[in-house]
Protein backbone atom coordinates (compact mmCIF):
# COMPACT_ATOMS: atom_id res chain seq x y z
CA UNK A 1 0.00 0.00 0.00
CA UNK A 2 1.39 3.39 -0.93
CA UNK A 3 1.86 6.02 1.77
CA UNK A 4 -0.68 8.23 -0.01
CA UNK A 5 -3.32 5.48 0.04
CA UNK A 6 -2.56 4.73 3.70
CA UNK A 7 -2.93 8.38 4.69
CA UNK A 8 -6.22 8.63 2.81
CA UNK A 9 -7.50 5.52 4.54
CA UNK A 10 -6.34 6.88 7.90
CA UNK A 11 -8.23 10.14 7.28
CA UNK A 12 -11.27 8.11 6.24
CA UNK A 13 -11.15 6.09 9.47
CA UNK A 14 -10.47 9.09 11.68
CA UNK A 15 -13.89 10.37 12.52
CA UNK A 16 -15.71 10.72 15.81
CA UNK A 17 -19.14 9.31 16.48
CA UNK A 18 -21.73 8.64 13.84
CA UNK A 19 -21.54 11.83 11.76
CA UNK A 20 -24.06 10.30 9.37
CA UNK A 21 -26.97 12.71 9.47
CA UNK A 22 -28.32 14.22 6.30
CA UNK A 23 -28.56 17.64 7.98
CA UNK A 24 -28.08 19.25 11.41
CA UNK A 25 -31.74 19.14 12.48
CA UNK A 26 -31.14 16.22 14.87
CA UNK A 27 -28.52 17.98 16.99
CA UNK A 28 -30.95 18.92 19.79
CA UNK A 29 -29.06 16.68 22.23
CA UNK A 30 -26.26 19.27 22.30
CA UNK A 31 -28.57 21.48 24.39
CA UNK A 32 -28.84 18.70 27.00
CA UNK A 33 -25.08 18.13 27.04
CA UNK A 34 -24.53 21.89 27.51
CA UNK A 35 -27.06 21.98 30.37
CA UNK A 36 -25.35 19.06 32.13
CA UNK A 37 -21.94 20.75 31.63
CA UNK A 38 -23.18 24.00 33.16
CA UNK A 39 -24.76 22.14 36.10
CA UNK A 40 -21.50 20.19 36.62
CA UNK A 41 -19.48 23.40 36.61
CA UNK A 42 -21.77 25.04 39.18
CA UNK A 43 -21.64 21.92 41.37
CA UNK A 44 -17.82 21.78 41.12
CA UNK A 45 -17.53 25.45 42.14
CA UNK A 46 -19.78 24.93 45.14
CA UNK A 47 -18.02 21.70 46.25
CA UNK A 48 -14.53 23.24 46.02
CA UNK A 49 -15.54 26.38 47.93
CA UNK A 50 -17.25 24.31 50.62
CA UNK A 51 -14.22 22.04 50.92
CA UNK A 52 -16.13 18.96 49.84
CA UNK A 53 -14.09 18.26 46.71
CA UNK A 54 -10.39 18.29 45.92
CA UNK A 55 -9.13 18.79 42.35
CA UNK A 56 -7.10 15.56 42.51
CA UNK A 57 -10.34 13.61 42.72
CA UNK A 58 -10.71 14.41 39.02
CA UNK A 59 -8.02 11.78 38.47
CA UNK A 60 -10.66 9.15 39.03
CA UNK A 61 -11.95 9.94 35.55
CA UNK A 62 -8.59 8.87 34.20
CA UNK A 63 -9.35 5.32 35.27
CA UNK A 64 -12.11 5.24 32.65
CA UNK A 65 -9.88 6.23 29.76
CA UNK A 66 -8.44 2.74 29.02
CA UNK A 67 -12.02 1.48 28.67
CA UNK A 68 -12.83 4.34 26.29
CA UNK A 69 -9.74 3.60 24.18
CA UNK A 70 -10.68 -0.08 23.94
CA UNK A 71 -14.18 0.89 22.79
CA UNK A 72 -12.76 3.21 20.13
CA UNK A 73 -10.90 0.20 18.68
CA UNK A 74 -13.84 -2.16 19.06
CA UNK A 75 -16.28 0.22 17.37
CA UNK A 76 -13.84 0.90 14.58
CA UNK A 77 -14.32 -2.72 13.44
CA UNK A 78 -17.93 -3.13 14.45
CA UNK A 79 -19.17 -0.11 12.48
CA UNK A 80 -18.12 -1.73 9.19
CA UNK A 81 -20.62 -4.53 9.86
CA UNK A 82 -23.22 -2.32 11.49
CA UNK A 83 -23.21 0.17 8.61
CA UNK A 84 -23.08 -2.49 5.87
CA UNK A 85 -19.71 -1.29 4.54
CA UNK A 86 -17.65 -4.36 5.49
CA UNK A 87 -17.74 -5.65 1.88
CA UNK A 88 -16.19 -2.42 0.58
CA UNK A 89 -13.58 -2.39 3.30
CA UNK A 90 -12.54 -6.02 2.95
CA UNK A 91 -12.42 -6.02 -0.84
CA UNK A 92 -9.98 -3.11 -1.00
CA UNK A 93 -6.90 -4.30 -2.91
CA UNK A 94 -4.52 -4.06 0.03
CA UNK A 95 -3.31 -6.59 2.62
CA UNK A 96 -5.80 -6.92 5.45
CA UNK A 97 -3.08 -6.07 7.95
CA UNK A 98 -2.60 -2.70 6.21
CA UNK A 99 -6.34 -2.03 6.40
CA UNK A 100 -6.20 -2.87 10.08
CA UNK A 101 -3.13 -0.70 10.69
CA UNK A 102 -4.96 2.31 9.21
CA UNK A 103 -7.73 1.76 11.77
CA UNK A 104 -5.15 1.24 14.52
CA UNK A 105 -3.37 4.48 13.65
CA UNK A 106 -6.72 6.31 13.70
CA UNK A 107 -7.53 4.91 17.16
CA UNK A 108 -4.07 5.86 18.48
CA UNK A 109 -4.54 9.42 17.22
CA UNK A 110 -8.02 9.63 18.72
CA UNK A 111 -6.69 8.26 22.01
CA UNK A 112 -3.94 10.85 22.06
CA UNK A 113 -6.47 13.63 21.54
CA UNK A 114 -8.76 12.17 24.20
CA UNK A 115 -5.94 11.85 26.75
CA UNK A 116 -4.60 15.33 26.01
CA UNK A 117 -8.08 16.87 26.27
CA UNK A 118 -8.66 15.10 29.59
CA UNK A 119 -5.29 16.31 30.92
CA UNK A 120 -5.99 19.86 29.80
CA UNK A 121 -9.45 19.69 31.39
CA UNK A 122 -8.04 18.45 34.68
CA UNK A 123 -5.41 21.18 34.72
CA UNK A 124 -7.92 23.89 33.95
CA UNK A 125 -10.23 22.73 36.72
CA UNK A 126 -7.26 22.61 39.11
CA UNK A 127 -6.26 26.17 38.27
CA UNK A 128 -9.88 27.23 38.71
CA UNK A 129 -9.91 25.57 42.16
CA UNK A 130 -6.74 27.47 43.00
CA UNK A 131 -8.41 30.75 42.03
CA UNK A 132 -11.48 29.88 44.10
CA UNK A 133 -9.57 28.81 47.22
CA UNK A 134 -5.99 30.00 47.09
CA UNK A 135 -5.37 29.30 50.79
CA UNK A 136 -5.92 25.55 50.30
CA UNK A 137 -5.00 25.00 46.66
CA UNK A 138 -2.10 27.40 46.33
CA UNK A 139 0.96 27.43 44.09
CA UNK A 140 2.79 24.59 45.83
CA UNK A 141 -0.31 22.45 45.73
CA UNK A 142 -0.76 23.14 42.02
CA UNK A 143 2.85 22.19 41.28
CA UNK A 144 2.46 18.80 43.02
CA UNK A 145 -0.91 18.27 41.38
CA UNK A 146 0.41 18.93 37.88
CA UNK A 147 3.27 16.54 38.55
CA UNK A 148 0.78 13.87 39.56
CA UNK A 149 -1.46 14.55 36.59
CA UNK A 150 1.42 14.21 34.19
CA UNK A 151 2.33 10.85 35.72
CA UNK A 152 -1.23 9.55 35.49
CA UNK A 153 -1.70 10.69 31.92
CA UNK A 154 1.73 9.48 30.89
CA UNK A 155 0.73 6.07 32.17
CA UNK A 156 -2.45 6.08 30.14
CA UNK A 157 -0.53 7.22 27.08
CA UNK A 158 1.89 4.30 27.46
CA UNK A 159 -0.99 1.90 27.99
CA UNK A 160 -3.20 3.10 25.13
CA UNK A 161 -1.49 1.18 22.22
CA UNK A 162 -2.31 -2.06 23.98
CA UNK A 163 -5.95 -1.18 24.73
CA UNK A 164 -6.46 0.02 21.15
CA UNK A 165 -5.08 -3.24 19.71
CA UNK A 166 -7.12 -5.28 22.16
CA UNK A 167 -10.28 -3.42 21.14
CA UNK A 168 -9.60 -4.06 17.45
CA UNK A 169 -8.94 -7.74 18.13
CA UNK A 170 -12.16 -8.11 20.12
CA UNK A 171 -14.13 -6.44 17.31
CA UNK A 172 -12.56 -8.80 14.79
CA UNK A 173 -13.16 -11.88 16.94
CA UNK A 174 -16.89 -11.09 17.23
CA UNK A 175 -17.21 -11.24 13.42
CA UNK A 176 -15.30 -14.48 12.96
CA UNK A 177 -15.44 -18.17 13.69
CA UNK A 178 -13.51 -17.30 16.88
CA UNK A 179 -16.68 -15.69 18.23
CA UNK A 180 -17.01 -18.21 21.11
CA UNK A 181 -13.93 -16.49 22.58
CA UNK A 182 -15.85 -13.20 22.84
CA UNK A 183 -16.98 -13.62 26.49
CA UNK A 184 -13.36 -14.23 27.49
CA UNK A 185 -12.31 -11.13 25.58
CA UNK A 186 -14.89 -9.05 27.45
CA UNK A 187 -13.61 -10.49 30.71
CA UNK A 188 -10.12 -9.45 29.60
CA UNK A 189 -11.56 -6.01 28.80
CA UNK A 190 -12.80 -5.65 32.39
CA UNK A 191 -9.49 -6.76 33.86
CA UNK A 192 -7.11 -4.93 31.52
CA UNK A 193 -9.19 -1.74 31.53
CA UNK A 194 -8.66 -1.57 35.27
CA UNK A 195 -4.94 -2.37 35.08
CA UNK A 196 -3.85 1.06 36.28
CA UNK A 197 -6.13 0.80 39.23
CA UNK A 198 -4.72 -2.65 40.07
CA UNK A 199 -1.16 -1.37 39.81
CA UNK A 200 -1.89 1.65 41.97
CA UNK A 201 -3.83 -0.38 44.50
CA UNK A 202 -1.36 -3.23 44.90
CA UNK A 203 1.54 -0.76 44.83
CA UNK A 204 -0.07 0.88 47.85
CA UNK A 205 0.46 4.38 46.50
CA UNK A 206 -2.93 5.26 45.12
CA UNK A 207 -4.35 6.70 48.30
CA UNK A 208 -1.30 8.71 49.24
CA UNK A 209 -0.95 9.95 45.69
CA UNK A 210 -4.53 11.11 45.51
CA UNK A 211 -4.13 12.86 48.86
CA UNK A 212 -0.93 14.55 47.66
CA UNK A 213 0.78 13.81 50.98
CA UNK A 214 3.39 16.24 52.15
CA UNK A 215 6.05 13.56 52.53
CA UNK A 216 6.16 13.25 48.76
CA UNK A 217 6.74 9.49 49.02
CA UNK A 218 3.96 8.60 46.65
CA UNK A 219 5.06 11.19 44.17
CA UNK A 220 8.64 10.01 44.39
CA UNK A 221 7.49 6.44 43.80
CA UNK A 222 5.37 7.38 40.80
CA UNK A 223 8.18 9.38 39.27
CA UNK A 224 10.81 6.74 39.96
CA UNK A 225 8.80 3.76 38.79
CA UNK A 226 10.20 2.92 35.37
CA UNK A 227 6.89 3.23 33.58
CA UNK A 228 8.60 4.00 30.33
CA UNK A 229 10.04 0.48 30.33
CA UNK A 230 6.50 -0.85 30.21
CA UNK A 231 6.19 0.67 26.75
CA UNK A 232 8.33 -1.89 24.90
CA UNK A 233 6.51 -5.02 26.16
CA UNK A 234 3.13 -3.33 25.68
CA UNK A 235 3.98 -2.39 22.10
CA UNK A 236 5.24 -5.95 21.45
CA UNK A 237 2.00 -7.36 22.84
CA UNK A 238 0.00 -4.92 20.73
CA UNK A 239 1.86 -6.12 17.61
CA UNK A 240 0.95 -9.71 18.43
CA UNK A 241 -2.72 -8.79 18.88
CA UNK A 242 -2.72 -6.89 15.57
CA UNK A 243 -1.10 -9.81 13.75
CA UNK A 244 -3.73 -12.14 15.16
CA UNK A 245 -6.52 -9.75 14.08
CA UNK A 246 -5.01 -9.56 10.60
CA UNK A 247 -4.93 -13.34 10.36
CA UNK A 248 -8.57 -13.58 11.44
CA UNK A 249 -9.57 -10.98 8.81
CA UNK A 250 -7.64 -13.00 6.24
CA UNK A 251 -8.89 -16.47 6.99
CA UNK A 252 -11.60 -16.78 9.59
CA UNK A 253 -14.35 -14.25 8.96
CA UNK A 254 -18.01 -15.15 9.06
CA UNK A 255 -19.55 -13.40 6.06
Amino acid sequence: MSLQAFIHLLKHEFRWGRNDKADNSGNWWIAYVAAVAVAGFVLYTWAVVEGKFKPQYLWNFVLGLPFAIFMLGFNMILREWKNGTNGWWLSLPYPRLSLLLAKYAAVILQSFILITAALAGCMLFSVYASVLKAETFGQEFLFRLFQGELVWYGLILIYSPFMAAFGLLTGTVTQSRWRPLAPLMWLGFGISGNALWWIAWFGGWMESLSELDQSGEAMAFSLQFPFVFLLAPLVALSCLLLLWSGRILDKDLNL
Binding site: Q4, A5, H8, L9, H12, R15, R18, N19, D20, K21, A22, D23, N83, G84, T85, N86, G87, W88, L90, S91, L92, P93, Y94, P95, R96, K251, L253, N254, L255
Partner: protein, 233 residues
Protein backbone atom coordinates in the same frame (compact mmCIF):
# COMPACT_ATOMS: atom_id res chain seq x y z
CA UNK B 1 -14.93 -23.31 -29.04
CA UNK B 2 -14.45 -22.50 -25.37
CA UNK B 3 -13.29 -18.93 -24.62
CA UNK B 4 -10.59 -18.04 -22.10
CA UNK B 5 -11.90 -18.28 -18.55
CA UNK B 6 -12.06 -15.26 -16.25
CA UNK B 7 -13.20 -17.49 -13.41
CA UNK B 8 -12.94 -21.25 -13.11
CA UNK B 9 -14.00 -23.30 -10.12
CA UNK B 10 -13.65 -27.01 -9.46
CA UNK B 11 -15.51 -28.86 -6.75
CA UNK B 12 -15.82 -25.68 -4.69
CA UNK B 13 -17.17 -26.26 -1.19
CA UNK B 14 -17.99 -23.95 1.69
CA UNK B 15 -19.99 -24.60 4.84
CA UNK B 16 -21.35 -22.14 7.37
CA UNK B 17 -22.23 -23.65 10.74
CA UNK B 18 -22.51 -27.12 9.23
CA UNK B 19 -24.79 -25.96 6.42
CA UNK B 20 -23.34 -26.14 2.91
CA UNK B 21 -23.37 -22.83 1.00
CA UNK B 22 -21.37 -24.25 -1.89
CA UNK B 23 -21.46 -27.98 -2.41
CA UNK B 24 -19.05 -28.92 -5.15
CA UNK B 25 -19.58 -26.02 -7.55
CA UNK B 26 -17.93 -26.41 -10.95
CA UNK B 27 -18.25 -23.20 -12.90
CA UNK B 28 -16.69 -21.51 -15.86
CA UNK B 29 -17.10 -17.77 -16.51
CA UNK B 30 -15.86 -16.65 -19.93
CA UNK B 31 -13.57 -13.63 -20.15
CA UNK B 32 -14.70 -10.41 -21.81
CA UNK B 33 -18.42 -11.19 -21.64
CA UNK B 34 -21.40 -10.50 -19.40
CA UNK B 35 -22.42 -13.52 -17.35
CA UNK B 36 -25.61 -13.72 -15.34
CA UNK B 37 -25.31 -15.89 -12.24
CA UNK B 38 -28.86 -16.92 -11.41
CA UNK B 39 -30.59 -19.02 -8.80
CA UNK B 40 -33.04 -18.81 -5.90
CA UNK B 41 -32.23 -17.40 -2.48
CA UNK B 42 -29.68 -19.56 -0.71
CA UNK B 43 -28.35 -21.05 -3.93
CA UNK B 44 -24.81 -19.90 -3.10
CA UNK B 45 -24.45 -16.99 -5.54
CA UNK B 46 -23.26 -14.45 -2.96
CA UNK B 47 -20.89 -16.95 -1.37
CA UNK B 48 -19.41 -17.62 -4.82
CA UNK B 49 -19.02 -13.87 -5.45
CA UNK B 50 -17.44 -13.28 -2.03
CA UNK B 51 -14.91 -15.98 -2.84
CA UNK B 52 -14.14 -14.35 -6.17
CA UNK B 53 -13.55 -11.05 -4.33
CA UNK B 54 -11.32 -12.81 -1.79
CA UNK B 55 -13.57 -12.04 1.17
CA UNK B 56 -13.85 -15.68 2.16
CA UNK B 57 -11.89 -18.81 1.30
CA UNK B 58 -13.22 -22.15 0.14
CA UNK B 59 -13.10 -25.09 2.55
CA UNK B 60 -12.31 -27.36 -0.35
CA UNK B 61 -11.83 -27.23 -4.10
CA UNK B 62 -10.08 -24.89 -6.46
CA UNK B 63 -10.96 -21.39 -7.57
CA UNK B 64 -9.03 -19.44 -10.15
CA UNK B 65 -9.81 -15.78 -10.85
CA UNK B 66 -8.03 -14.01 -13.72
CA UNK B 67 -5.47 -16.82 -13.66
CA UNK B 68 -4.64 -16.54 -9.94
CA UNK B 69 -5.88 -17.54 -6.54
CA UNK B 70 -8.31 -14.80 -5.42
CA UNK B 71 -7.18 -12.36 -2.73
CA UNK B 72 -6.30 -8.73 -2.22
CA UNK B 73 -3.83 -8.81 -5.12
CA UNK B 74 -6.44 -9.95 -7.66
CA UNK B 75 -8.78 -7.24 -6.35
CA UNK B 76 -6.63 -4.69 -8.13
CA UNK B 77 -8.30 -5.99 -11.27
CA UNK B 78 -11.79 -6.56 -9.86
CA UNK B 79 -14.53 -4.03 -9.14
CA UNK B 80 -16.86 -5.68 -6.65
CA UNK B 81 -20.30 -4.51 -5.56
CA UNK B 82 -21.11 -6.44 -2.38
CA UNK B 83 -24.52 -7.89 -1.66
CA UNK B 84 -26.74 -5.68 0.57
CA UNK B 85 -23.96 -3.11 0.75
CA UNK B 86 -24.47 0.43 1.98
CA UNK B 87 -22.28 3.42 1.34
CA UNK B 88 -20.44 5.42 4.04
CA UNK B 89 -23.19 7.58 5.51
CA UNK B 90 -20.94 10.58 6.17
CA UNK B 91 -19.70 10.78 2.56
CA UNK B 92 -21.02 13.14 -0.05
CA UNK B 93 -20.93 11.96 -3.67
CA UNK B 94 -17.80 14.06 -4.19
CA UNK B 95 -16.10 12.53 -1.15
CA UNK B 96 -17.01 9.05 -2.40
CA UNK B 97 -15.29 9.88 -5.69
CA UNK B 98 -12.19 11.04 -3.81
CA UNK B 99 -12.24 7.84 -1.75
CA UNK B 100 -12.37 5.77 -4.94
CA UNK B 101 -9.68 7.86 -6.65
CA UNK B 102 -7.27 7.31 -3.78
CA UNK B 103 -8.03 3.70 -2.95
CA UNK B 104 -9.32 1.90 -6.03
CA UNK B 105 -6.78 1.21 -8.79
CA UNK B 106 -8.02 2.02 -12.27
CA UNK B 107 -10.72 4.40 -11.08
CA UNK B 108 -11.61 6.73 -13.93
CA UNK B 109 -12.84 10.03 -12.53
CA UNK B 110 -13.99 11.41 -15.87
CA UNK B 111 -16.00 8.30 -16.59
CA UNK B 112 -17.49 8.40 -13.08
CA UNK B 113 -18.68 11.98 -13.59
CA UNK B 114 -20.35 11.00 -16.86
CA UNK B 115 -22.08 8.09 -15.14
CA UNK B 116 -23.19 10.27 -12.22
CA UNK B 117 -24.85 12.64 -14.68
CA UNK B 118 -26.58 9.68 -16.30
CA UNK B 119 -27.62 8.38 -12.88
CA UNK B 120 -28.99 11.78 -11.84
CA UNK B 121 -26.69 12.22 -8.82
CA UNK B 122 -25.39 15.58 -7.63
CA UNK B 123 -21.81 15.80 -6.22
CA UNK B 124 -23.05 17.58 -3.07
CA UNK B 125 -25.58 14.92 -2.11
CA UNK B 126 -24.82 13.18 1.19
CA UNK B 127 -25.20 9.39 1.38
CA UNK B 128 -27.13 9.73 4.66
CA UNK B 129 -29.88 11.62 2.86
CA UNK B 130 -30.11 9.38 -0.21
CA UNK B 131 -32.89 6.97 -1.10
CA UNK B 132 -31.90 3.30 -1.51
CA UNK B 133 -32.09 3.76 -5.28
CA UNK B 134 -29.76 6.77 -5.24
CA UNK B 135 -27.32 4.98 -2.97
CA UNK B 136 -27.37 1.92 -5.25
CA UNK B 137 -26.65 4.15 -8.25
CA UNK B 138 -23.72 5.76 -6.46
CA UNK B 139 -22.23 2.38 -5.52
CA UNK B 140 -22.70 1.08 -9.04
CA UNK B 141 -20.97 4.16 -10.46
CA UNK B 142 -17.95 3.55 -8.22
CA UNK B 143 -17.70 -0.01 -9.55
CA UNK B 144 -18.41 0.54 -13.21
CA UNK B 145 -16.12 3.57 -13.57
CA UNK B 146 -13.03 1.44 -13.10
CA UNK B 147 -10.68 0.37 -15.85
CA UNK B 148 -10.26 -3.17 -14.56
CA UNK B 149 -10.49 -6.62 -16.07
CA UNK B 150 -13.60 -7.74 -14.22
CA UNK B 151 -16.70 -6.24 -12.63
CA UNK B 152 -18.66 -8.34 -10.13
CA UNK B 153 -22.12 -7.06 -9.19
CA UNK B 154 -23.97 -8.94 -6.48
CA UNK B 155 -27.68 -8.08 -6.62
CA UNK B 156 -27.28 -4.54 -7.98
CA UNK B 157 -31.07 -4.14 -8.33
CA UNK B 158 -32.13 -5.44 -4.90
CA UNK B 159 -34.60 -3.23 -3.06
CA UNK B 160 -34.60 -0.35 -5.51
CA UNK B 161 -37.34 1.25 -7.58
CA UNK B 162 -38.08 0.66 -11.27
CA UNK B 163 -36.69 4.03 -12.39
CA UNK B 164 -33.38 3.40 -10.64
CA UNK B 165 -33.24 -0.12 -12.09
CA UNK B 166 -33.77 1.22 -15.59
CA UNK B 167 -31.06 3.84 -15.10
CA UNK B 168 -28.64 1.20 -13.85
CA UNK B 169 -29.35 -1.14 -16.77
CA UNK B 170 -28.91 1.67 -19.28
CA UNK B 171 -25.62 2.67 -17.57
CA UNK B 172 -24.41 -0.91 -17.82
CA UNK B 173 -25.38 -1.15 -21.50
CA UNK B 174 -23.63 2.16 -22.12
CA UNK B 175 -20.56 0.87 -20.31
CA UNK B 176 -20.42 -2.39 -22.28
CA UNK B 177 -20.67 -0.69 -25.64
CA UNK B 178 -17.14 0.73 -25.44
CA UNK B 179 -15.38 -1.76 -23.19
CA UNK B 180 -14.38 -5.39 -23.17
CA UNK B 181 -14.60 -6.20 -19.50
CA UNK B 182 -15.75 -9.41 -17.91
CA UNK B 183 -18.91 -8.74 -15.97
CA UNK B 184 -20.69 -11.00 -13.49
CA UNK B 185 -24.16 -10.08 -12.35
CA UNK B 186 -26.34 -11.95 -9.90
CA UNK B 187 -29.96 -10.85 -9.78
CA UNK B 188 -33.54 -11.91 -9.22
CA UNK B 189 -34.76 -9.21 -11.63
CA UNK B 190 -34.21 -11.47 -14.63
CA UNK B 191 -36.77 -9.80 -16.84
CA UNK B 192 -35.01 -6.45 -16.66
CA UNK B 193 -31.45 -7.72 -16.74
CA UNK B 194 -31.57 -10.57 -19.23
CA UNK B 195 -30.84 -8.31 -22.19
CA UNK B 196 -27.42 -7.73 -20.63
CA UNK B 197 -26.36 -11.37 -20.51
CA UNK B 198 -24.10 -13.11 -23.05
CA UNK B 199 -23.68 -16.16 -20.88
CA UNK B 200 -25.72 -17.60 -18.02
CA UNK B 201 -24.90 -19.84 -15.07
CA UNK B 202 -27.72 -21.35 -13.00
CA UNK B 203 -26.90 -22.47 -9.46
CA UNK B 204 -28.97 -24.48 -7.03
CA UNK B 205 -28.02 -25.56 -3.50
CA UNK B 206 -24.39 -24.72 -4.08
CA UNK B 207 -24.05 -26.75 -7.29
CA UNK B 208 -24.14 -25.95 -10.97
CA UNK B 209 -27.55 -26.68 -12.46
CA UNK B 210 -27.09 -25.40 -15.97
CA UNK B 211 -24.85 -23.06 -17.98
CA UNK B 212 -24.79 -21.84 -21.53
CA UNK B 213 -24.92 -19.07 -24.09
CA UNK B 214 -27.78 -16.69 -23.32
CA UNK B 215 -28.90 -16.31 -26.91
CA UNK B 216 -29.12 -20.05 -27.56
CA UNK B 217 -31.05 -20.57 -24.32
CA UNK B 218 -33.44 -17.74 -25.17
CA UNK B 219 -34.14 -19.23 -28.59
CA UNK B 220 -34.75 -22.64 -27.07
CA UNK B 221 -36.91 -21.53 -24.11
CA UNK B 222 -38.51 -18.25 -25.24
CA UNK B 223 -36.91 -16.14 -22.51
CA UNK B 224 -34.51 -16.47 -19.62
CA UNK B 225 -37.36 -16.00 -17.20
CA UNK B 226 -39.22 -18.97 -18.74
CA UNK B 227 -36.15 -21.12 -18.37
CA UNK B 228 -35.69 -19.96 -14.77
CA UNK B 229 -39.28 -20.97 -13.95
CA UNK B 230 -38.79 -24.38 -15.58
CA UNK B 231 -35.56 -25.02 -13.69
CA UNK B 232 -36.69 -23.95 -10.22
CA UNK B 233 -40.39 -24.76 -10.24
Amino acid sequence: MMMAAAVRSENLRKRFGGKPALDGLDAYIPAGRVTGVLGPNGAGKSTFFRMIAGLIRPDHGRLEVLGSEPGWRTNREIAYLPDRARWYRHHTVERALQWAEHLLPGFNRERAEQLLALMGLDPDMKAAGMSRGEEARLMLTLCVARDVAMIVLDEPFAGIDVVSRERIVSALIDNMSDRRQTMLISTHEIDEAESLFDHVVFIERGRLKMAGEAEALRVEHGSMENLYRKLYR
